[in-house]
């Protein structure tokens, strides 16, 4: 197979602790240097937490795997200073088309709203994404990335965990205050703590092929139900960078996965789709069975689970890696406050509470998409086909077409960390929502709102400036930013999106989510909301 990408080989180094035979206690050890583990390392570095990252391999993701990265994770990576190369290399897109047989049934646009720094969605091969994050980790003093380190065993204690690690130099032991397990759907860490992981397997198989070709297909997501080139099944086409195209074929449950992925079987299938004259080469092929399942809770003692290790979804909707990044967004600041003794362990249980809630939202959406794409009975297939036929001509049927509901952040609307609104606010943000971005001007320069906040609590004021510049509670400081004084809302979009015309005061969490909001500045109320948002009430 052809390779458009040269896999880097990262150097294994024996650690000093292994060489000297001493048992060292690290504040945080991360298991797995995939997209989520690397994000966790960068998040901890941004919070000033030193981490050791262990990976049993010594390169990036083999094969492209995850492809679509959504606006919210890109905003998280931008906060961590690593989004720019991803957006530059990635293919931005926002239009999706759904075909039924040979006809266009439905078309959607992901981000019709202007005034956001990050695009709605980019497509990028996972190996590039990891490569950029590995490079960023290398520039961070606080990240100790160790390749060819395989976790063999964990023993949990009251205030730490012991890890037995195998390297090319043998076996040694280290200790960790906290472990963040990001070792994927087949997580060994999860097995080591007897973590419960249950849900639904779908009786279907999909062939995933990355194909190199020069083509003038537009940069859009194209999805086919029952196409003429692949009867009674579905297919998906997506553009990645370097003229690599991702193609998914539904195979059905009876397909033999080993036979299906042989080039002599894949190439005829691709020719039926792309035409006999199409010139292409295979870069990577794999066959998947999808599952939708999650752990019962994401914290097991000193071990915190994130990404596919904690929850696994079908890929329709790009909810895998995208959700995992938001796990870390939620976890980083909480871990920092606990490590600093500014909050108790209950705060880490709210990591589980909020992200289990998000995982369930993702599981629901991806299960529904999978049910629509692969109907389980004759009647549900009839309903599906009826929806698709009606959608060609009639608007009412189009919202029922489900080829994947693409990843959107789940607002933590029921979170115990929220302070309920005491008054009405317009717009789609609520306590528990992530903040909307907007163009702003800061120190005479054009910029973006989300680049001004994050990492710490903040108070955002629309209206008269209060007498104080900081609100503090138990060593947690929330800086006051006044719109019009500290930054300029040039186009008025920030004020509009935060419903600030009549004056508004927001308490924002370090993960850029709304904790509480009022119409007037009241330092006592803000302190109480900080206490609530950090489980100190």
């Amino acid at each position: 197979m052809l390779n458009t990408y040269t896999y880097p080989e990262f150097e294994y180094q024996q650690s000093r602790e292994q060489e000297q035979g001493v048992i060292k206690r690290h504040p945080v050890v991360i298991i797995g240097a995939g997209p989520i583990g690397l994000t966790a390392a960068l998040e901890c570095a941004a919070q000033g937490i030193p981490t050791v990252v262990l990976d049993d391999n010594n390169t990036v993701s083999i094969g492209s795997r995850a492809v679509c990265y959504a606006k919210r994770p890109l905003e998280v990576w931008d906060r961590l200073g690593v989004a720019a190369p991803m957006v530059e290399k990635g293919v931005s897109w926002k239009v999706g088309k759904v075909f039924f047989k040979e006809k266009l049934a439905y078309e959607f646009d992901l981000l019709p709203e202007e005034g956001h720094k990050m695009p709605a969605m980019i497509n990028l091969q996972q190996y590039y994404l990891e490569e950029y994050m590995v490079a960023k980790c290398a520039s961070e003093e606080n990240v100790d990335l160790r390749w060819k380190h395989k976790l063999l065993n964990i023993t949990q204690h009251d205030d730490h965990a012991s890890l037995v690690i195998e390297t090319p130099d043998g076996v040694f032991t280290m200790e960790a205050g906290w472990i963040i397990a990001c070792d994927g759907a087949n997580s060994d860490t999860r097995k080591m703590v007897d973590g419960e992981f249950s849900g639904q397997f779908f009786q279907d198989r999909f062939l995933i092929a990355d194909v190199v070709m020069k083509s003038d297909f537009p940069t859009e997501r194209w999805f086919w139900f029952d196409p003429v080139f692949h009867k009674n099944q579905s297919a998906l086409l997506h553009k990645q960078s370097d003229d690599v195209w991702r193609i998914d074929f539904q195979l059905g449950w009876d397909a033999d996965p080993e036979e299906a992925k042989k080039p002599e079987n894949v190439i005829p299938l691709l020719k039926q789709m792309l035409g006999d004259d199409a010139e292409f080469e295979l870069e990577w092929v794999s066959v998947y069975q999808f599952a939708c399942r999650r752990m019962d809770k994401f914290r097991y003692g000193r071990v915190l689970f994130a990404g596919d290790a904690a929850h696994q979804v079908s890929p329709f909707g790009a909810r895998g890696a995208n959700t995992g990044v938001q796990d870390i967004d939620n976890l980083g600041w909480k871990l920092k406050l606990v490590l600093d003794g500014k909050a108790g362990l209950e705060l880490l249980d709210t990591y589980s509470e909020e992200r289990v809630f998000a995982a369930d939202d993702n599981l629901l959406n991806s299960t529904r998409s999978t049910d629509f794409i692969t109907p389980k009975s004759k009647s549900s297939r009839f309903f599906r086909d009826a929806v698709l036929r009606l959608a060609e001509k009639h608007e009412f049927a189009r919202p029922l077409v489900n080829s994947g509901r693409l990843s959107m952040p789940t607002p933590y609307v029921q979170s115990s960390l929220n302070t309920d609104d005491g008054t009405e606010f317009a717009g789609c943000m609520k306590p528990g929502s992530n903040c909307a971005d907007s163009p702003i001007v800061k120190d005479g320069k054009d910029g973006w709102f989300l680049n001004q906040i994050g990492g710490e609590f903040e108070v955002l004021v629309f209206g008269d400036a209060p007498a104080t510049n900081t609100v503090s509670f138990n060593g947690i400081n929330a800086k006051v930013t006044v719109v019009g004084r500290d930054l300029e809302d040039k186009e008025g979009l920030l004020t509009e999106r935060f419903d600030g015309q009549q004056g508004a005061v927001y308490l924002l969490r370090p993960d850029q989510h709304v904790a509480a909001r009022w119409r007037e500045f009241d330092a006592d109320a803000i302190q109480a909301a900080i206490a609530k948002a950090t489980c100190q009430h």
Binding site: D371, F372, S377, K378, S379, H394, F396, R398, L400
Partner: protein, 62 residues
């Protein structure tokens, strides 16, 4: 009044899941019967002959 062909269901994914789930454990014949009943119930709710005629027409389109 004419037949509403604009989107009118507030949470389409919720509705669709309920529809499919309602038939998950039924046999083919039971499903046919349930669909027939569903059509009659909804037709009665609509009531207006003109609207029902238009709906029959839309559903009969090839």
């Amino acid at each position: 009044m004419s037949l509403n062909l604009k989107a009118n269901i507030k949470n389409p994914d919720d509705f669709y899941q309920k529809l499919i789930d309602a038939q998950r454990d039924l046999s083919e014949d039971e499903i046919q019967l349930m669909n027939a009943k569903l059509i009659l119930v909804l037709a009665n709710h609509i009531g207006e002959a003109g609207v029902l005629d238009q709906a029959l027409e839309v559903a009969s389109e090839q």
